[in-house]
Subunit: 590 residues, 2 copies
């Protein structure tokens, strides 16, 4: 299969388009100089290309092995993790007080893309630690931070999030795991958790589980849930927590998805009693952003794979005349429909990269201690855009994975080529960390309608101001005109659903997924317009180097506006169909 190469040039173009240097200065990340960022990216690229990518297929073939509670990761995973820790990657974007290097989260977010493209199943082991670290950092006591954060930051230990139970995932209010207070101030945790990614493995010496559970005197439902830290080893001794089995999954076989049994395991309360769900919501955006990255990683990986094939495989003659007269057939990249598939992947990947990197920068700002209008803006836009990034980018990522297979024809279905693994691995991304349906409900119900569309209005106003500014370059007009229209249509559509929803709450649920998809295309159109603008500005400089790169960006933007953005018209008309035809049939008549 094609060997993954980190798209360093494209990444730098996006960082430039987002004024990343200035951002780092503004947030006080003075160490993240241009040179330093470049050096870090190059080192990360080297590690991902040379260490992680070669383990991509073996991880799938071997999977994780389970033997009486002991989980062994695929060949090479442990050595790669040791090297990862040795090179200091886990601590890159962590606070210095716990041994971190103090680089911005947004830079960690960029590295996540590379690791994710190279080997998502592997990258999940260190990825999961972030959830645990975030929880402890925000809600742990100083002692808890001292005890757990330092080894998590160094990568010596890893972490998990233990939420789901067999009968509940989305609706965590139904959870049954019990936490009984003990005389020493600790809690005895009793229950079964499922779908625990990296729940047990052989990469690190200890695993810190963040567990949600209910105390005996807690109310039922979501208001009776508390958060606990439950280490696998407590002062070096085994705690009563064990892996009961590994799930048999469609993909991401290199990652251990565990059933975890808590049999009177010793746990310690984090944050206030019964406020566990609230505590979790505070970092939900970060966790969802980390999952959105899988969509981006998938797009890039699938694009690289199918592009290499399209430049190598020959079939038929180009419609407008022979391109390779000395060959029995032309390269398939000469066929318009193959290009349609490749450009779809390319436009999604580069547009989503811009969105996801920008969200990483919002995280930096939202984490600033001092309140400011910038912080409020970052918080609000993070709230609005995160469900879009999580659901839209993963859905489009799955489309790109499938287009990748499609370019290969029948060969795409064969394991050796590696393309079908991308489809299987990426399929989870629209399910975990809140399905597309749940993200959509969050977007339309909570992030848009509950504030009467005020945050959305702020966002579309920014789109419009950008358009006003950008149309000073006349080649921008086709994009800015379209974007202004779209921003108005988006607002109008929202108002329309809002009015209907006042009479019938089902209207929100009935419209939400198509609303989210519409929103995703609109946001990516904004991202692309900004990149095209950046490229046009660069081309205005008569000494511009690397002209072709900028022309390429403008052409990809044109493709996006002509051939992908019009999909919104289908979404709009479908969602305006409303809830009637969904709800009129009784459940028995299905």
């Amino acid at each position: 299969m094609h060997q993954y190469k980190a798209p360093i040039e494209d990444i730098h173009f996006v960082l430039d388009s987002l004024d990343y240097s200035k951002h780092c200065q503004t947030i006080g990340a003075t160490e993240a100089s241009d040179d330093m960022v470049e050096a870090i990216l190059e080192e990360a690229a080297k590690f991902c290309e040379q260490v992680l990518a070669p383990l991509y297929q073996v991880g799938d073939q071997e999977g994780c092995q389970f033997d009486n509670g002991v989980v062994t990761t695929p060949t090479g995973f442990k050595a790669a993790y040791e090297q990862w820790v040795e090179n200091g990657w886990p601590s890159l974007a962590q606070k210095e007080e716990f041994g971190g290097q103090g680089m911005p989260e947004s830079l960690g977010n960029v590295i996540n893309e590379l690791g994710g493209s190279a080997n998502w199943a592997w990258a999940m082991y260190s990825g999961l630690s972030h959830g645990a670290m975030n929880t402890l950092e925000m809600h742990g006591t100083d002692e808890q931070k001292e005890e757990y954060l330092t080894p998590l930051v160094s990568g010596q230990w890893t972490g998990t999030m233990c939420l789901t139970e067999p009968h509940c995932g989305t609706d965590l209010g139904l959870l049954k795991t019990k936490a009984t207070p003990q005389d020493d101030g600790s809690y005895s945790i009793e229950g079964t958790k499922i779908f625990i990614s990296a729940g047990e493995h052989d990469l690190a010496e200890n695993i810190v589980h963040i567990v949600i559970a209910r105390m005996p005197d807690s109310p039922e439902g979501s208001k009776g849930i508390s958060l606990f830290v439950v280490p696998k080893l407590l002062n070096g001794e085994a705690n009563h927590v064990s892996c009961g089995s590994l799930e048999h999954k469609m993909g991401i076989h290199g990652n251990a998805t565990c059933v975890m049994n808590f049999d009177g395991a010793k746990g310690f309360l984090i944050g206030p009693k019964n406020k566990g769900l609230n505590c979790m919501f505070t970092f939900m955006n970060f966790a969802r952003l980390a999952t959105a990255v899988q969509g981006l990683s998938t797009m890039e990986l699938a694009y690289q794979g199918s592009l290499a094939y399209a430049k190598d495989r020959r079939a038929m003659r180009a419609m407008t005349g022979t391109k390779s007269p000395d060959q029995p057939a032309d390269l398939i990249i000469e066929h318009a429909d193959v290009r349609r598939m490749l450009l779809t992947q390319k436009a999604f990947a580069e547009g989503s990269r811009m969105l996801i990197y920008q969200l990483g920068m919002f995280v930096d700002i939202a984490k600033q201690e001092q309140d400011s209008p910038e912080k409020t803006r970052a918080d609000e836009f993070l709230g609005l855009l995160t469900p879009i990034a999580k659901a839209f980018v993963t859905e489009a990522g799955f489309e790109c994975a499938n287009l990748g297979m499609q370019v290969f024809g029948g060969h795409g279905y064969i394991k050796e080529w590696g393309m079908e693994q991308i489809v299987r691995d990426s399929r989870i991304s629209t399910l975990y960390e809140g399905t597309t349906g749940i993200q959509s409900l969050d977007l339309l119900g909570r992030k848009v309608l509950s504030n009467r569309g005020q945050v959305l209005k702020k966002y579309t106003k920014e789109m419009q101001s950008f358009c006003k500014q950008a149309k000073s370059i006349k080649e921008m007009k086709p994009f800015t005109n379209r974007l202004i229209k779209m921003s108005k249509e988006w607002g109008w559509m929202t108002l329309k659903i809002g009015l209907k929803a006042r009479k019938n709450r089902d209207e929100v649920n009935a419209a939400c997924v198509e609303y989210l998809m519409y929103s995703g295309y609109a946001v990516l159109a904004y991202m692309w317009a900004q990149m095209a603008y950046k490229a046009m500005q660069a081309l205005e400089d008569p000494n511009c180097e690397n002209k072709q790169q900028y022309i390429n960006k403008i052409q990809t933007c044109e493709f996006y506006y002509e051939r992908l953005l019009p999909r919104t018209r289908g979404f709009k008309d479908c969602l305006l169909g409303g809830s009637k035809t969904l709800m009129q049939m009784s459940a028995d008549d299905f």
Copy 2:
């Protein structure tokens, strides 16, 4: 996992809507009385539910085993095949002169749906024989028919189609397999074929390979290809054809996908020298229809699985108020977005069933010996609609498979539930037997534009006449108005592309996939309008039994028109974007 049940009631509704009894009389299939058809369907349902469905998961888990040229199918496959042959299923729709039962092909087509839903990988073994039988029936000599057809019809032997080679699939003109004439009038076949479904297995005592190859003095390209029959055993002795290995695939593990080596195997010419591709085109529609069935089978299977789960799993409360006050949460089927997914599957499944069964009936008519306007019509519509059925129904089938997983949330990703297998198994359907891109090019280039849209015009005229007649029931008007508009838009869009294509041939390739998808939605809208009309007519009878079934059909039609059909607007606007943004970038700049 949910146990598949054949949707007998829905099947009868479609057959009634298509006036199937009358059709059987018209084509002279007098034995296919209503009672007989009903009895056959019930027997087939029993076999599929009780014998094939239980082998669905085991086939995936075990897969086929390869040992030094010998292929062993999964546990139970051989016994099921023996029972299948014993019950006479292979010969159901075959001609009586070769031991067949003379039932119409259209009835075999219905049975294919059931077998395909129950166990597609298994059903492919007998499915592949059809290609071989069709070839021999149409182009074989009397002796060849005598020798090969009889044991194929009985199921004692199976057949394959050996077309693809490592370097060519779509572009068969590039093929390298050689056929050298021998003194005894036979040919020595030399070459390697890949992706040969059912190429080697342990179900039948002999395997008849239909092979395309080039003679030494044949011209290069597609005009130098001839067709040969190459049996695995020749007069009981091994021929020089062997399975070199099994492909490692994403799914359909129960079916053996073989690399076949022809090392001087003895073969016999079928049909005229150098006319092999033409011979194959004559039954291409039948083979593609058989693959389209996989899309339908997938839709039904995925729908049944996710419906059962949605009626069992509880999460959250319904938006408009509690439905199960005695339970901690409501069933997820109460949520509008879950219903959107279920109804999408249901509307696609029932609409596609109508299309595919109708195509089966066109096959019956097209196979009639005497020329007639009906035969011409059947031939033309078969040509027009087959690529649509192949590509649209399999693409929509894959969507339904994924929606099936999505309804399950994270559980959908776990093998035990069976939903992810549907995704993996169905993924091949948009690739083999001509990818979606190839079908689309066939539709727009060959079936529509090459006759200047005349066949399409005939078809849309029929849609319009139907609408004129159907609007006598006033509840039909929302459907007929929409359908008339759509039929005109379809024609207008075709004209527009046709005009552009005169100047630039890339326009066809650039528009074709979205054009096909648009056409698929339009055709299914026509199918649904006919079913709604049938249901409304039935409800006009004051003594109508089973009213609820008819109301259900009308409601599903409403859903289709409100929530799925508007997707055409996205396809239309995307395809009108044209070829410019696809072709302007040089291949090196991708």
